[in-house]
């Protein structure tokens, strides 16, 4: 059974592990999907993360004890997470500002950095930092770098950035200390009211290389 930690007057943090693993994230996804299929009275929203999920509720309708009892029931049903949706993201590496520096720090050639990046089997673990910033785990070990010592301001939307074991696609012009190694026409903030965010947490993502001309044509 996971640990249940009450948060303020209106939320319950359900903790499955303390360190990141696919197994812990699978339990997070299973509870998230079970809750979406069968929400309780007063349920407001759930925020899945790496090792835990926060369940937010209306305290004028229910309370921590009732929510914990309900979630224990769901977690005990051993839900299988749905099969993740496979997705493909096209990436252009031409002119990426940090490709040379990533190559220097990893001891690889720029072409080997690109090949390693393309070889990753990525999964959306959570969203965070800013609207539509989907943290994709699965970056190959050869590309793991600490973030820059200070963030760069005004990195535009549609940049493919990496740090640690993660990769993400920027959706807004924001500062970031991550390494900018590519650019994509894929918009995680879709602008489509029916499906405003492209990825669900848990989706699997493969990358496909495109040329600058193809990227600009798709943008």
């Amino acid at each position: 059974m996971p640990l249940f930690r009450p948060v303020a007057d209106h939320a319950m943090l359900v903790q499955f592990a303390t360190t990141i693993s696919d197994a812990a994230h699978a339990e997070v996804l299973a509870l998230d999907q079970a809750l979406a299929a069968a929400p309780f009275a007063g349920f407001r929203e759930a925020i899945p993360a790496f090792v835990n999920i926060l369940v937010d509720f209306d305290p004028t309708v229910t309370d921590h004890a009732a929510v914990e009892a309900y979630l224990r029931g769901l977690a005990g049903q051993a839900f299988q997470a749905l099969r993740p949706t496979p997705r493909e993201v096209p990436v252009c590496y031409e002119g990426a500002p940090d490709l040379e520096e990533v190559a220097r720090q990893t001891g690889l050639s720029p072409d080997a950095v690109i090949a390693a990046h393309l070889s990753g089997d990525y999964k959306v673990f959570l969203y965070g930092f800013a609207p539509g910033y989907a943290y994709m785990g699965g970056l190959p070990d050869a590309l793991r770098l600490d973030r820059k010592s200070s963030p760069v301001r005004g990195v535009p939307a549609g940049r493919v950035i990496i740090a640690g074991s993660q990769c993400l696609i920027t959706t807004l012009s924001m500062p970031t200390g991550w390494w900018i190694i590519g650019r994509t026409p894929t918009k995680v903030l879709t602008g489509d009211a029916a499906r405003p965010f492209l990825f669900d947490v848990g989706d699997h993502i493969r990358l496909r290389r495109i040329t600058l001309a193809e990227c600009e044509a798709l943008e």
Binding site: P6, A8, D9, D63, G128, A130, Y135, L172
Partner: protein, 314 residues
């Protein structure tokens, strides 16, 4: 139709509705008003539904010119100074602005935020179904900028006379806020937990819609540098690696890797947001059961207040 022009707007003056809900899983916080109770009163006083739109005015202040038509408005929240043409009043007031007149709202004796609602429908942009402005991106109804004009439709619903609105005691700033320990209190030594619960903290100038950094005893986390990013809520008291606490507010990031020593209860966040930089605040730790009971009591008090207006509700 009424047409207004922004003659001056300080920083953090934004369009808000009650918030953008259900999207924290996609990195989008609720946004909405910093003082949700004052916002609800401003809308109800003019007979609006709870999902209508108002302008949140910061300590930076706001000046509007009425170019065309007339507009009845309510200013609710904090103790701000309101000048309507030649008439001077405070917030907690319903007034009417006429063509050729200026409305000037500036900070008064207390409070950090006040709400300007108009009778009629303010025409504003929406993002993901809500007019609430997400401060860091400016998406939604947006920040007010000098020179900008906007329209109010259906201004026929005008309240007859200027009248004051009573300021309930629970709308005042709250210098003792109640919080529930955790959910990452295990990363703090006993003396840090005791300092948090007993010593005064002070709001700093690092105060915006995302949160406010506090000055006070160092609450250095122990062994927490590598915790996986976890969800954050409005009211989370997050402690960075330097031991400084930040209370996360309306436009907070939705996840983060710093431990949260405690979480302020929702009922106390409105009064907390009305404190000003340099004000002192103390945290009182309570149980989750007491937190739920207090929030229910606060919701009933607000409902009773809103009940004085026709159709008033949360």
């Amino acid at each position: 139709m009424t047409r207004l022009r922004v003659a001056f707007a300080g920083p953090h003056v934004t369009v808000q509705d009650k918030g953008r809900f259900g999207m924290m899983r996609f990195g989008v916080p609720e946004s909405g008003p910093m003082d949700r109770k004052a916002f609800a009163i401003a809308l109800a006083a003019l007979g609006h539904a709870a999902d209508a739109v108002a302008i949140e005015v910061s300590l930076g202040g706001l000046t509007l010119e009425c170019l065309e038509g007339a507009a009845t408005f309510a200013v609710v929240g904090g103790g701000f100074i309101v000048q309507t043409g030649a008439r001077r009043s405070g917030s907690w007031q319903i007034e009417t602005l006429h063509a050729g007149e200026r409305l000037v709202i500036r900070p008064g004796p207390w409070g950090s935020w006040t709400y300007l609602a108009f009778a009629g429908a303010l025409q504003v942009a929406r993002w993901l179904g809500s007019a609430a402005t997400h401060g860091p991106s400016g998406l939604g109804g947006g920040r007010l900028i000098a020179g900008q004009e906007f329209e109010i439709q259906d201004t026929g619903i005008v309240v007859a006379a200027a009248r004051p609105l009573p300021c309930p005691v629970w709308a005042r700033p709250r210098s003792v806020v109640q919080a529930v320990l955790g959910p990452q209190d295990r990363f703090f030594a006993a003396n840090s937990l005791e300092d948090f619960a007993t010593r005064p903290f002070y709001l700093t100038d690092a105060y915006d819609r995302m949160g406010v950094r506090l000055r006070g005893p160092s609450l250095m986390p122990v062994g927490a540098l590598s915790i996986p990013s976890e969800p954050i809520l409005r009211g989370s008291v997050q402690v960075a690696g330097d031991g400084l606490a930040t209370v996360m507010l309306a436009d907070h990031g939705t996840t983060g890797g710093y431990p949260k020593i405690a979480t302020v209860i929702s009922d106390d966040l409105d009064g907390f947001a009305q404190l000003r930089p340099k004000d002192a605040v103390r945290f009182k730790l309570i149980t989750p059961e007491d937190a739920v009971a207090l929030t229910r009591r606060g919701a009933r008090a607000l409902d009773r207040y809103l009940g004085q207006f026709p159709g008033g509700s949360r």
